[in-house]
Symmetry: D2
Subunit: 347 residues, 4 copies
């Protein structure tokens, strides 16, 4: 019963199998291998983006930070939600890779900000003096850090504001599969067709070992990116194994099956919690549940080995309800959800 | 017959197996898992260094560049051989990670520099003005870029010079296993007992998928390294799979068996080339052969599909001998060496 | 009637004279000159800090950003007020120089934060994971961006919290003279005796051409700073002219006379505004007045050429009072204050 | 008799006067003042470049390093002479500001490299893998570190090679005035008409207090440079004083008069040394003399207080000739040259 994160779980068997399948014989290093060629093509096809530049890296922090460095100068302003992973959870990797860009946090309910808040922030940055830095890019997370999703029209509204100011729109898709599954959307409709310029398409949280794709829908934006990735120490010499993971995920729609599984578990968990006297802090739209749990339910669950995070790592006052984050994944089993709900209900 | 590099070959079956073996169940992220604990301990034991701090990253460039950033300020001078990977082959990753440190290349035969050359360079740096930057660290590669090895007494002589100037000694051991195997040395004797302060212990070139260990023999030198690695996007969330690779390599001495295999193939190749009318540019001491091949032998080999690099990527004059680099690996087969030698001999 | 900033005014005649006075003959470059030696000694004496390391740079942004780089690693957390110049007004120079440190803004009334808020923030940073970065330093501005001052006991309370967590305390003293004058305090009592570890002592806003002193009370903290300053392009070859400015300011207490003059003008301005029907947003404690002005008073003043900033650059609603910032300086004349007050009163 | 450097001398009286002349009254900060406007225009006119972007900074290191950051990504290759100031004497400021660019030193007689050497280096960089970084820019120094000059046709030949590879050409003109004076050339002919894209036009070594101009002949190349300069802490709030220095230099041709004076002194010194039994290492073409002096002449001069650098700071063997660098400046007096020559001749 581990709901701490989607990254506490292992690698999907088909992904592991793909590593074995490409293991035979010598291949060119640093991406000059047929597996990488095939995997890059597969993502272009999946996203219906024949001209896109697709590159693989091992971690989400690397993917996001490299994109920030690619799209923002050192004196750039990067607009994101105040809960954004790039702002809160990456040890200032974007600042490091970009050499000083300023993350400008925007607030907004349920982990999302809207076009009005963005327009206002951009306007301020534009009117500002040299002291304020220069507007550089906009970043949204989908699914968000609160497990909610921006739908295509919401993305498009933000893209319109960004583009009117000449700024590219980045989507941190560490849980992109969960967003697509949750929205019942189409990957192209949710990204470039809505105005996303660069997408980080997560693999690790969705069954890969350690793999993410960075996708530049406009190849001109990828100029020099291969050097940047190399200089960052993010290019595998045996690149085929990075590509093989991502390839395994898109073959036969595995990525979406896994995300649907995770999302379904979260939905069931959310409903069960409400029935058990808890309440949801935000709606469950992907694979995360943010809930208020009665104190005794929480204590019972913990005592029986359920693992999850108290939100904001705050110690709750005795007897008071606690706010928790529960994350499901491709590997979450039915019985784990059942067991947790039983515990919460005191059954 | 691919002798282009040791990284064109795949992953050793035992390493792949180790990935499967640790796949079951949920584990803590970012290194808080039992596999990582076990693997770090295994390297401390292997190196007879119970206090050492051991950390894993995926690429050699990341390992080296992070160490440079850890040991040198932005205004530091880093002494290395002019052929060093950190100076020539990492897209200035050390400069990037350290934010500007100056790589000061030293010359010396067979990919090695000696204590006198080092002392002279350090003396110049010390006498210099602010304009010259400040002496920061010394880096050697073992086995070297020329496939030669520094023995323990050679390392100790350099360490003495470095330490007298207050500088730490880093060993880039992307092919450390090949050096240990070639020298018949002991890992501890070749490193901390000879004065090495930080070792990058390569896994990828020796049968891993993508894994290197960074080992700080003095834990005080590792202060803050975990943050640095995180900020660099070099921490896997599913860290167990990085650790499992490195653990598989040290269990039952696999790492040394594989390196001996590679070295033996190189030795046989070198001897065969001499018998076939070629000549060695440097002695074969690890898993690389640098040789002058008669023009017709080279053309025959290439025509029949042998893959290897012309050294310095220079186009040879027609009819003239060519200088080539041939790299063997854990996966190089007896018959591949035989076939290449047959081709070179015109048999 | 220019109250836009203290940097719109020129250079005090004694400072200009000092440039001429040191102009004769050849002197050593890069600080190896007697003027620099004398000026550094003068600041050590002024601050009663015989062991302090004193260095001069030309701009406040350089002074602050170099100190941030000196005291924080790239993965550090720098605590400051949300209105701090290093956070809001330096084009992310601290992030650039430190290569990615995270400025963590604290809120608090009147441009100041207190020990409880600081302790809470530090506690969070300490409890956090690698994702949050590592606690590195605390920075306060005195006089603050709101023209208020931290007194010695307030500084000491913050220093205690910082030091208990092992963090150094930096004071951005771009308007340090105004704080000392406003508080009637002693430079030593307000800095190292209260626990300040590094002080940026401003000259430019107080009558210099372009000069600031960076003062490390513990010489160990200055290790390598000369290289850092050189690498930043912040070392004058003709260093005597930088030193001469700062020397002129401390001779015969000029710095304090100028600050008292500026503060007195601000005090008179503040009182006059209240009499004229305006109100003060914060008390006037140094050389800045933040006030709400009746709409018609503001329009009259502007129409007659008074220059000052609307606060937050917000366009006021028609007829509504406006919030303005008025800055006085060593060069503000009595009649300018009188004229502005007359205009505001409609006299 | 100080021939150590051109920066040991003071500020020309007309430059000092210019500081006083612009001291009256309030002016806009950060460059929004009429002196800056006038000075920028004066340099555009001097260089017959009406569209050029002109910006002022205080030090040559800042000027060069900011340009490197402007023209090269972190993974760029910057081609320069092995004696170049940016490579040898700026504490790796270009690497720091560009965040890792690789300075690739070219050799060549008399401090200059030719188009063939440049073409060969660029070809290598272009053919290289990601490991080598990407060709980014070419930098030449004029007058060179050896006091020689590139004439317009030499510059044009290098510019042609650079531009054919798509690379901009930067000229480090810390001693640009001396080059113009030495060549009897025209500033436009020696720069943009010969293909220079960005010029650092030195003021400090030629009588300014601390001032250099950075000139982008194509305004598109200056995009974002103002932010970069601000983030670097290189923007004076009282910018008028930086501009006033540079303005004073160009008014009435002062810059050229001063350079001619310095060059004439060097020429006379060089001729005198040859007559005194010494020999020139390179021809005297600007304001530096590199000479081999008989041991006794050198000892006599030193004993009587002559100040200059032994070249490469090497201690000469007793009785052997020594190689020295002698630098003249706008402030070098006739009698100083006479006195030194008398000493060398043993008169």
């Amino acid at each position: 019963m581990n709901f701490a994160s989607d990254n506490v779980h292992g690698v999907h068997p088909k992904v592991l199998q793909a590593l074995s399948d490409c293991n035979e014989g010598a291949m060119g290093s640093y991406g000059a291998d047929p597996v990488t060629v095939r995997a890059e093509a597969a993502y272009r096809e999946l996203l219906d983006a024949p001209d896109a530049v697709v590159r693989f890296v091992a971690t989400g922090t690397a993917a996001n930070a490299l994109v920030c460095a690619q799209l923002s100068p050192s004196f750039g302003r990067i607009y994101c939600h105040e809960s954004a992973h790039i702002h809160r959870d990456e040890c200032s990797a974007p600042e490091f890779y970009s050499h000083g860009a300023k993350l400008v946090p925007l607030s907004g309910a349920q982990g999302k900000f809207g076009p009005a808040a963005l327009a206002e922030a951009i306007r301020f940055g534009k009117a500002g003096s040299l002291n304020d830095g220069r507007n550089a890019m906009v970043s949204i997370t989908n699914a968000t850090e609160w497990g909610t999703c921006y739908g295509p029209s919401e993305v498009a509204a933000l893209a319109t504001v960004a583009h009117e100011a000449g700024l590219p729109l980045h989507m941190d898709g560490a849980r992109f599969a969960n967003a697509v599954a949750g929205l019942g959307s189409d990957p192209a409709a949710l990204t470039w067709q809505a105005g996303v310029d660069v997408l980080c398409f997560g693999g690790t949280k969705n069954g890969a070992l350690a793999a993410e794709a960075v996708i530049f829908f406009d190849p001109a934006r990828a100029d020099g990116f291969d050097y940047r990735r190399k200089q960052a120490g993010q290019v595998y010499s045996k690149q085929r194994y990075l590509a093989a993971q991502m390839l395994a995920l898109v073959e036969d729609g595995l990525w979406l099956d896994l995300a649907r599984h995770a999302n379904a578990a979260a939905t069931r968990l959310g409903q069960g919690i409400e029935q058990a006297g808890g309440s949801l802090v935000v709606p469950v739209e992907a694979n995360e549940v943010f809930a208020r749990l009665p104190s005794d339910a929480h204590e019972r669950a913990r005592a029986h080995g359920a693992v999850y995070h108290l939100w904001q790592d705050e110690l709750p006052a005795p007897g008071e309800p606690v706010t928790v984050r529960l994350v499901t994944s491709w590997a979450t089993r039915e019985d784990e959800v059942t067991d947790l709900l039983d515990l919460l209900r005191g059954a």
